[in-house]
C-alpha cells in the first residue's frame, strides 16, 4: 500500500527523459522511460534479428525460438517456469516482427524494488531458453499445425497466397512453407539465439515510476552482462537491423483466383507494391493515402463505396502501408456471394480510379479530404496519449518502421494537399506491381474477372494446392 500511495504522487505525470546521446560504442542498450497510473511495470526489449529473415529455415527458426523461450529455461521446464513467473505475478512474452524479435516482461510494482528472483529468472530465460530436442520437436509440430490452421479463414488464405506470390516473384523473399518444417534444424535455432541474444544492439522501452530508474538500469546490466554503454533517452536512428531487400523485380498485373466452393461470401483484394524503397520525404503522404483509402475503416473512400453506399460487405480494410520496406496500397473485402457480380465491378472501378486514372483523391470534395487529414492527426494524437502508445512510436523508430524526422515532427504542422497526394499516387502507379486475388467458386468468378480485368494474367489455383503450398512450385 505504501508504494501505491507513493506511486500516486506521480499519477498522471507522464514524462520522457531525453538525455544527450553520446557516440555509440560496441555494445548499445537504449533505455526509454514512461510512467503509468496503473501499478504495473512493463519492459519491452527489441533485438534485431538482422540477416535471419533472408533464409526460410532461419525465418521459421525465429518462430521456433519464440516457442522455446516460452517452454522455460534449461534449468526449469515450462510448468516450473510458469509457476515461478506467476509467483511474481509476472508474464514474459516473446514475439517476432518483420525484422526483429521482441520480449515483453510485465510485473506488478511491489516494495519499490524489482525482485531478485524475477531478475534471475528473466536472465536465465534470455541466456538459456529451453532449446532441447524435445522442445524443438514440439514447437515444430505445433507451429506446423498453426500454420495450416491459420488458413482456415478465407481472408487469411487469400492474403497468404498473395503474399507468397509477391514474395516469390518480386522479392525472392523466403516465406517459410510446409516443406521448411522438414528442413529446419535445432542448430538453426541455437545459432539464432547465439547471434541475436547478446548485448550488441538492444532497445529497451520501460513503463515504470521514475523512482525505479536506477533499478531498471541495474536490471539491464544484469540481463545483458558485460554491457558497455547504456544510453538513456530516445534512439534517433534505427537499430542495426541489417534486413535489406534487393531492388525488387517487376511483375505483370496478376489476378489470383482460388477455387473454393460452397462459400457464403467471396473474399477479394489487391496489393500494389512500389518498386522503390520508402523515402522519408513521402512518409506522411504515403500514410495519408493509405488512411484515406482504407485505414479510416468504413469512413475511408473504399469503405464508403463498398459498405456505406452499396452495403456489399461488412469488412473493408487495408493490411499494410509498407511491405518489407516498400510502400504499399492494398484493399481487402468480403462481399456476399449473391452480390459477387456487382462486387467485381465495384472493385474494377476502384482500381481504375485509384491507379489507371489516378484521379480518385483529386476528385474528392475538399471538406472530406481535409476531414480525413484531421482524423489522421487525431488518431496519431490518441496513439501518443498513453505510455504504451508513446513507447510504441519510439520502438517504431528503433526498428525503422518510422523515421526519426517523422517522430519528432509536430502533428499540427502535418499537411498534405490533394495535389501532393495525387502526384504521389501517380508516381507510385508508374513504378509498382499489382497483384489481385479472390477466393470463391471459379466457375462463377472466372468469367466476371476476365470481363472486368481483361489485361490481367489469371492464375487459377485449387483450394487444395493453396493449402499444401504446391502451386508456386
Amino acid at each position: 500500500m505504501k508504494n501505491r500511495i507513493h506511486y500516486s504522487a506521480s499519477l498522471f505525470l507522464y514524462f520522457v527523459l531525453f538525455c544527450g546521446l553520446s557516440p555509440l560504442s560496441y555494445s548499445k542498450i537504449f533505455l526509454d522511460y514512461e510512467t503509468d497510473p496503473l501499478p504495473l511495470i512493463k519492459i519491452n526489449f527489441v533485438l534485431p534479428a538482422k540477416e535471419a529473415f533472408k533464409v526460410d529455415t532461419d525465418n521459421l527458426g525465429l518462430k521456433i525460438l519464440e516457442e522455446c523461450f516460452e517452454s522455460g529455461t534449461l534449468k526449469f521446464d515450462k510448468q516450473k517456469y510458469q509457476d515461478l513467473l506467476a509467483s511474481y505475478g509476472a508474464s514474459l512474452e516473446i514475439s517476432t516482427g518483420q525484422s526483429y524479435q521482441e520480449v515483453n516482461l510485465t510485473f506488478p510494482l511491489s516494495g519499490g524494488k524489482i525482485p531478485e528472483g524475477l531478475i534471475q529468472l528473466t536472465k536465465d530465460s534470455l541466456e538459456q531458453p529451453r532449446i532441447t530436442e524435445e522442445t524443438f520437436e514440439r514447437a515444430r509440430k505445433l507451429l506446423k499445425a498453426n500454420f495450416i490452421s491459420t488458413l482456415e479463414r478465407d481472408s487469411s488464405l487469400l492474403i497468404s497466397a498473395m503474399n507468397r506470390y509477391m514474395g516469390a516473384k518480386l522479392f525472392n523473399f523466403p516465406f517459410y512453407e510446409t516443406t521448411t518444417f522438414d528442413r529446419v534444424s535445432i542448430s538453426n535455432v541455437q545459432d539464432l539465439h547465439k547471434n541475436y541474444y547478446n548485448n550488441s544492439n538492444i532497445w529497451m522501452g520501460v513503463i515504470a515510476p521514475k523512482e525505479l530508474k536506477e533499478e531498471i538500469r541495474k536490471l539491464s546490466q544484469r540481463l545483458f552482462s558485460n554491457s558497455g554503454d547504456i544510453e538513456e533517452g530516445m534512439l534517433e536512428t534505427e537499430l542495426k537491423s541489417g534486413f535489406m531487400l534487393p531492388q525488387t523485380g517487376k511483375i505483370n498485373p496478376t489476378f489470383i483466383l482460388i477455387d473454393k466452393k460452397d462459400l457464403a461470401q467471396i473474399d477479394y483484394g489487391f496489393i500494389r507494391v512500389s518498386h522503390q524503397k520508402k523515402e522519408n520525404q513521402h512518409e506522411l503522404t504515403d500514410k495519408i493515402i493509405n488512411y484515406l483509402l482504407t485505414r479510416a475503416g468504413i469512413d475511408s473512400i473504399y469503405g464508403r463505396k463498398i459498405r456505406a453506399e452499396k452495403g456489399l460487405a461488412y469488412q473493408v480494410s487495408g493490411i499494410y502501408t509498407e511491405y518489407l520496406d516498400f510502400p504499399v496500397i492494398s484493399l481487402f473485402s468480403n462481399p456476399q456471394r449473391s452480390k459477387q457480380k456487382e462486387a467485381v465491378e465495384v472493385l474494377s472501378d476502384l482500381v481504375k480510379s485509384t491507379f489507371d486514372k489516378a484521379d480518385l483523391i483529386n476528385t474528392l470534395p475538399d471538406p472530406f479530404f481535409n476531414g480525413k487529414m484531421l482524423s489522421y492527426k487525431n488518431s496519431e494524437r490518441q496513439d501518443g496519449a498513453t505510455p504504451d502508445g508513446r513507447l510504441h512510436r519510439r520502438k517504431d523508430v528503433a526498428t525503422n518502421d518510422m523515421s526519426f524526422d517523422f517522430y519528432k515532427s509536430n502533428i499540427d504542422s502535418w499537411n498534405v494537399s490533394k495535389t501532393q497526394a495525387t502526384k504521389r499516387l501517380t508516381n507510385f502507379t508508374k513504378s509498382s506491381s499489382m497483384v489481385m486475388g479472390v477466393i470463391g467458386d471459379a466457375n462463377e468468378l472466372e468469367p466476371l474477372i476476365k470481363k472486368s480485368f481483361p489485361k490481367y494474367q489469371l492464375v487459377k489455383i485449387s483450394y487444395k494446392d493453396v493449402l499444401e503450398n504446391t502451386w508456386l512450385k
Binding site: 506511486y7 498522471f12 506488478p108 478465407d154
Partner: protein, 468 residues
C-alpha cells in the same frame, strides 16, 4: 455529393411520415431548458489516485467523469442496457442491426461520418452483446462538446431512413457470413448457444438469423429504438483533458431535456440448468477438429461468478491454463481458450479446443475427458495462489488504454449495475480459497453441458434454420 444530401433529406421526411416517429419528440431538442437535475455525486477510487467522478441525473442517466492528461483528446463511451436479450423469436439480430443504424445520422449531424469527420476528425465505433450495446468515440478536446451533442441526439433524435436501413442490413448479412457461416470458430460459438438454450433469447446470439434480419421492417427498427434508447437505460463515461464541473454542466445541457422512458424490466424465460447433456456434430471444410464444451454460468449477482471465472483461468487460460499443459504441450490440441464472464441471466461458460490437424474427434474428446480428472490436483497449493497474482496483472493490463478503461466502467454499470465490477472481481478473486474452486468445478460438472464437435469434411454442412 450535394444531390445525395438532398435525397437523404427527402427520404427522412418519407421516413417520418411513414413511421411512428413523434414530431414532438424530434423537436424536443437539446437546446430546451434541462428538466433533469443532479440526484447524486460521489468520487469513486478503485486504486489510490485513480479517481472517477460519478454523477447521477434525475432522468436516470449515470455519468462517470475521469479527468486525466490525454494529449488534448477526450474519449466518450455510451453504453445502453439493450442487447440480444431484449429480442423476441422471429425478431432476432435487431439490437445489432440497430447498432449499425446509429451511425447513419442525427438532426444536427445528418451524416456523422461526413460532418463530424470533416469538422474534427471524429473516430467512432461500437459493439453489441447479449446484454448491452456500447458506442465509443475519441475526439480532440476542442470538439468535445460536439461529441456530447452527437451522443445526445443519437439517444433520442436519430435520423433513420428506409434506404439506410436496407444498406446496413446488407452489411450485417455480410458480417454474419464472414464471422459465423464461413468461420469454424464462429459457427462453433453460434451452435453452442443454439443447442444449449431452449427458450431464452441468449439462444440466438446478437448476430441473429439471416431470415429475421432480412424480414425486419423499418417500423420494427423505429419501435426498437424508441423503447430502448433512453437516459434511464444508459451510462456515459468521459475520459481525458476535461474538468468535472464543466462536463457535468454540458451533460445537463445535452441530456437534461430527455425524460426517462418507463421500463419494467424483462420477463425472460428461465432455462432448466440441471438437465441432460447435449451433443451435436457438424461437418465443415476445415483442417482440424473444433470442440466446444459449455455449461450454464453464474450471473453478475451470483457470488459463484468469481470462482467460475477464476476456475476457467486455471483450467483453460490460453497461455498458462491447465489444458495448455495437458493438451497443447502434448501435441493434441493447437489451442485452448475459455470464456466464462458472467451475464445478466445465466449464460454460458465455454471452453474451446482446436485440435492439431489429423487428431481425430474421438481422440480429442478422450484426451479432454482424461485431462479433466487431473485438474484439481494440478491447480492446488502454490499454483493456485501464484496464478491469482498473474490474474490481477492481466486484469489491470486490460484496462491500461483510456478507452478500454472507460468502456469497462460503462459496460459494468449497464450490465452488472456496478461500474467498478472489474476491480471488485480482482479483489474477490484474491479472497478465493482453493475449496471454492473445487466446489465450483464439481458443480459445473453436474449442470447440463452442451458439446459441439466440428469435424473436417469434404462438404460444408450449412447452418440449419431451426429457430425453435
Amino acid at each position: 455529393m450535394r444531390q445525395f444530401w438532398t435525397l437523404l433529406a427527402f427520404s427522412w421526411i418519407v421516413a417520418c411520415s411513414s413511421s411512428s416517429v413523434s414530431t414532438a419528440e424530434r423537436t424536443n431538442s437539446s437546446e430546451k431548458a434541462p428538466l433533469a437535475t443532479v440526484l447524486k455525486e460521489e468520487t469513486l477510487e478503485p486504486y489510490p489516485g485513480l479517481k472517477i467522478d460519478h454523477v447521477q441525473f434525475s432522468n436516470g442517466l449515470n455519468a462517470y467523469i475521469i479527468p486525466r492528461e490525454q494529449n488534448g483528446t477526450v474519449g466518450v463511451v455510451v453504453g445502453y442496457e439493450v442487447g440480444s436479450r431484449f429480442e423476441k423469436v422471429g425478431r432476432t439480430g435487431l439490437a445489432h442491426l440497430f447498432e449499425h443504424m446509429m451511425f447513419r445520422g442525427t438532426e444536427s449531424f445528418p451524416e456523422p461520418f461526413q460532418t463530424l469527420s470533416e469538422w474534427s476528425g471524429h473516430e467512432f465505433n461500437a459493439f453489441t452483446s447479449d446484454d448491452q450495446t456500447v458506442y465509443h468515440e475519441m475526439v480532440p478536446l476542442k470538439n468535445f462538446e460536439d461529441a456530447l451533442k452527437f451522443e445526445s441526439e443519437r439517444m433520442r433524435k436519430l435520423l433513420i431512413t428506409p434506404q439506410g436501413f436496407n444498406t446496413e442490413r446488407g452489411a450485417v448479412v455480410s458480417e454474419r457470413k464472414m464471422n459465423y457461416e464461413d468461420s469454424p470458430g464462429g459457427r462453433l460459438h453460434f451452435e453452442l448457444y443454439q443447442t444449449a438454450f431452449d427458450k431464452h433469447p441468449y439462444k440466438t446470439t446478437p448476430i441473429g438469423w439471416q431470415d429475421d434480419i432480412e424480414r425486419a421492417s423499418f417500423e420494427d427498427a423505429l419501435s426498437f429504438y424508441h423503447r430502448n434508447y433512453a437516459p434511464n437505460r444508459a451510462s456515459i463515461a468521459i475520459i481525458g483533458d476535461i474538468k468535472t464541473d464543466e462536463t457535468k454542466n454540458l451533460l445537463l445541457k445535452y441530456f437534461g431535456s430527455f425524460e426517462e422512458v418507463p421500463f419494467k424490466g424483462l420477463d425472460t424465460p428461465k432455462e432448466t440448468l440441471y438437465r441432460k447433456n447435449r451433443k451435436k456434430t457438424i461437418h465443415l471444410k476445415t483442417q482440424a477438429v473444433f470442440l466446444g464444451d459449455a455449461a450454464f454460468a453464474p450471473t453478475y449477482n451470483d457470488k459463484e461468478a468469481f470462482a467460475e471465472l477464476f476456475m476457467c483461468v486455471l483450467f483453460a487460460d490460453s497461455t498458462s491454463g491447465y489444458l495448455q499443459h495437458t493438451l497443447v504441450e502434448k501435441g493434441i490440441a493447437r489451442s485452448v481458450s475459455a470464456s466464462c464472464s458472467p451475464s445478466v441471466d445465466p449464460g454460458l461458460s465455454t471452453i474451446t479446443i482446436v485440435g492439431v490437424p489429423k487428431v481425430s474427434a474421438a481422440t480429442l474428446e478422450k484426451k479432454y475427458e482424461e485431462a479433466k480428472k487431473g485438474f484439481l490436483a494440478w491447480a492446488k497449493n502454490d499454483r493456485f495462489e501464484n496464478i491469482k497474482k498473474y490474474f490481477e496483472i492481466s486484469q489491470l493490463e486490460s484496462m491500461r488504454s483510456p478507452m478500454d478503461f472507460a468502456t469497462s466502467i460503462v459496460s459494468n454499470a449497464v450490465t452488472a449495475k456496478d461500474p467498478l465490477y472489474s476491480f471488485k472481481l480482482v479483489e474477490e478473486v484474491k479472497k478465493l480459497k482453493f475449496e471454492d474452486i473445487e466446489k465450483q468445478f464439481k458443480t459445473r460438472e453436474k449442470i447440463g453441458h452442451t458439446r459441439i464437435l466440428i469435424i473436417p469434411a469434404e462438404k460444408n454442412d450449412p447452418m440449419k434454420k431451426d429457430k425453435k
